[in-house]
Symmetry: C2
Subunit: 162 residues, 2 copies
DNA sequence: CAAAATTTTGGCATGCCGCCAAACTCGGAA
DNA sequence: TTCCGAGTTTGGCGGCATGCCAAAATTTTG
């Protein structure tokens, strides 16, 4: 299953590299199968680069890959992607509290998020009172702002209890 | 001088890799020349590993290296190390505000600090009112706690306006 | 001064992430 | 139905960050 996780299903938050986190966040909002090209164009990298990271993520149990067809999150991958989104939002909100603009908060968050543990995120989230806003959502809206580091695919289902 | 810096003396905060930041923080509190072995034993790595990173830091202008003798921070290196310490403290304090213990805050900070920009730190610091405490200092004391990720060499001069 | 300790050099490895060229697969057009 | 082109994968390679080891160089010490 998820190999780096000590117990099956236990998320530490430090399992995945920055790029892999980006991929999971991107895939999270996709209903159906996603093609290699979809990912490579989103991140502006060579398709072969995507194939390789995707192979690793599949190997690690985060997604199913049908060669020449596409990928889809596994249940574990979906759980992990949800965590990644929550982490992004909690950290983004934290930066917002210290006066960063939404775009800056999102940007800064994207650089650090993959190194922040779930334990810490859970603490921060409860300390914040499980907020329902995010650095990637315009006030009063449900749709996420398309920052450079925030994929528009993440736009929906952002306003909710973290 | 500091090569990755756009303007001479301008710090973005993203110039150095995690390990290099650790080295600078370690060197910051040292008065005189520091030997390769001092660093390698502090970080529990092979001396040859230290020699190589040190060579790069010297090349980049952060420190002076006299072969077979030791290293010492340059003026620019000292400035950068001061920034690194401030960054560590601001981020550690931030985590403390969200309920992390000092040791946890310090640990979490150590993983992310090298990816957080100076611009963001300055904002956070002023938003915090330029605090005078740190995750690495016991309340009421001037000396830093020796967390796993906090070098005891950083213990002094912590209590001051950031 | 010679041996011991320290430091450096050079080679090599791993993880992460990227590119390119060549081979492969698939689906649609002829 | 066959074949071509678009999309995908494979294999080779490179760069950065970080580490190790063995051998060579240098400094220190007895």
């Amino acid at each position: 299953m998820i190999e780096n996780n000590p117990e099956n299903g236990e998320i530490t938050g430090l399992e995945l590299s920055p790029r892999k986190v980006s991929y999971l966040k991107f895939l999270r909002a996709k209903e159906d199968t996603v093609r290699t090209t979809d990912i490579s164009s989103e991140f502006d990298v060579d398709p072969s680069t995507v194939t390789k990271l995707v192979a690793e993520l599949a190997e690690e149990g985060y997604l199913d890959h049908i060669p020449y067809r596409g990928v889809k999150l596994t249940a574990a991958g979906r759980d992990y992607a949800e965590f990644c989104l929550k982490r992004h939002q909690v950290l983004g909100l934290m930066f917002s509290h210290y006066g960063l603009s939404p775009a800056e908060a999102c940007d800064e968050t994207s650089r650090i998020e993959s190194f922040v543990s779930k334990k810490t995120i859970d603490r921060m989230c409860s300390s914040m009172g499980h907020p329902t806003v995010s650095c990637c959502v315009k006030p009063g809206e449900t749709r996420q702002i398309n920052h450079d580091s925030c994929f528009h695919e993440n736009r929906t289902n952002i306003i909710r209890k973290l």
